[in-house]
Subunit: 238 residues, 2 copies
């Protein structure tokens, strides 16, 4: 069975967390909206008047007859299918809990450039964005990355991965968050990264996984840009 | 086994979604931080230097040796333990997906009064709050409640519940969101509610469940107030 991933074709966005899991698992998938006419197919599926379980927004993943929306829910599914999460209940829930905490960070990173409304341009909310970004740089990055550093420190199976002794989808997502923060806030991250050596080492460890390394070097990896979640606006980097 | 719920003792907040599930299930639980010295116990548990799997923030639930954080993850766990979610994988994931969409709405509702920083007072971000709340009232409430109305319309097992023919934790959470929005934005909700008759009927159906009805009438239900997620500031209600 070939998975069908539905997500906006020109940004990493939330879809990237799913792409990374599919790539690490070497799963057979098609990134539908990047094919000819794919965005139309995605919109038709979303707006279908007959779908019994319509997704709220991209990304969503078609797996046979299943259509799964919400990034964390897709990863919960892929994690158990592809060995990207522990099999025991406690480990599965812990991995998911970490993913949900990363998702909270992703919302906050997005809202640094869109504190007033996602439907307005950044240019129409710049003063509020500057204030929100300042708070994010000063307080929120440290709160979140400090937490993940602690999780690595305390993992009884060692500090290579967040959960147990093997990579999970939460590691892939933490990699992506560090990538994104480094793109959006290079000055802030340069100052702060040394406080989180285990997080940075995990990032590098993920980047050098054979499947991930090949993916990052491929045209399948969309470069960061100023339409996605992580945007580099120098005004917001202090 | 008695569950221990850890959450701030003076607000409904995110903990309320867990309380509603525990109450509907008639589960044996203690709301730890509402007991004498309970907040200290909660802080000690959160800051414990030895916990292998520390929660990022309340709410978290202690279930025997398990400590589960993140509201949606707690509900995933309680859902399967207490018949508050379907047993099949597709139904479980769909329920969780709806919960995560409600969680997105909860963040947006919170940020109407805190668009700049959770660490600042509302009074220090009022102009931004007014703009964000206006967008939320005009666009976001309709987008989310319209979606849940559609989910109810399309449920092949009827429009009584979001998933299948029985109540799930997602129904309890939708009830709570409608309660919260009606408290925070009474004028906006009065204007808009008639567009979502199935959502409103579901809200009323949940409110009249025997366990929920008894809970809402008890001292265990903390009243809404201006410290929680859903706050009534007339300035933000248009």
């Amino acid at each position: 069975m070939r998975y069908e991933l539905y997500y906006w074709p020109s940004i990493q966005g939330r879809g990237e967390f799913v792409r990374l899991a599919l790539e690490e698992a070497a799963a057979d998938y098609v990134d539908v909206a990047r094919e000819n006419g794919g965005v139309n197919r995605m919109m038709r599926l979303m707006e279908s008047a007959t779908a019994a379980r319509p997704p709220f927004a991209p990304p969503f993943l078609k797996a046979g007859r299943l259509v799964i929306g919400q990034t964390a829910s897709i990863l919960l599914f892929l994690g158990s299918r592809h060995g990207l999460a522990p099999k025991d209940e406690a480990g599965r829930l812990w991995t998911h809990q970490l993913q949900l905490t990363l998702a909270d960070l992703v919302v906050e990173a997005h809202d640094t450039h869109h504190p007033i409304a996602a439907g307005l341009y950044y240019e129409d909310q710049k003063p509020a964005a500057r204030r929100r970004a300042e708070d994010f740089r000063r307080h929120r990055i440290a709160k979140f990355l400090g937490y993940f550093e602690r999780v690595l420190e305390r993992n009884p199976r060692g500090d290579r991965w967040l959960v147990g002794a093997r990579l999970t989808y939460a590691d892939l997502s933490l990699f992506q968050v560090v990538e994104g923060l480094s793109y959006a806030f290079p000055r802030a991250m340069q100052r702060q990264a040394k406080r989180y050596p285990k997080v940075v080492a995990l990032h590098d460890r993920v980047a050098s996984r054979p499947h991930i390394k090949a993916y990052l070097a491929s045209a399948r990896r969309i470069p960061f840009n100023e339409d996605g979640i992580f945007r580099h606006y120098p005004d917001l980097d202090g």
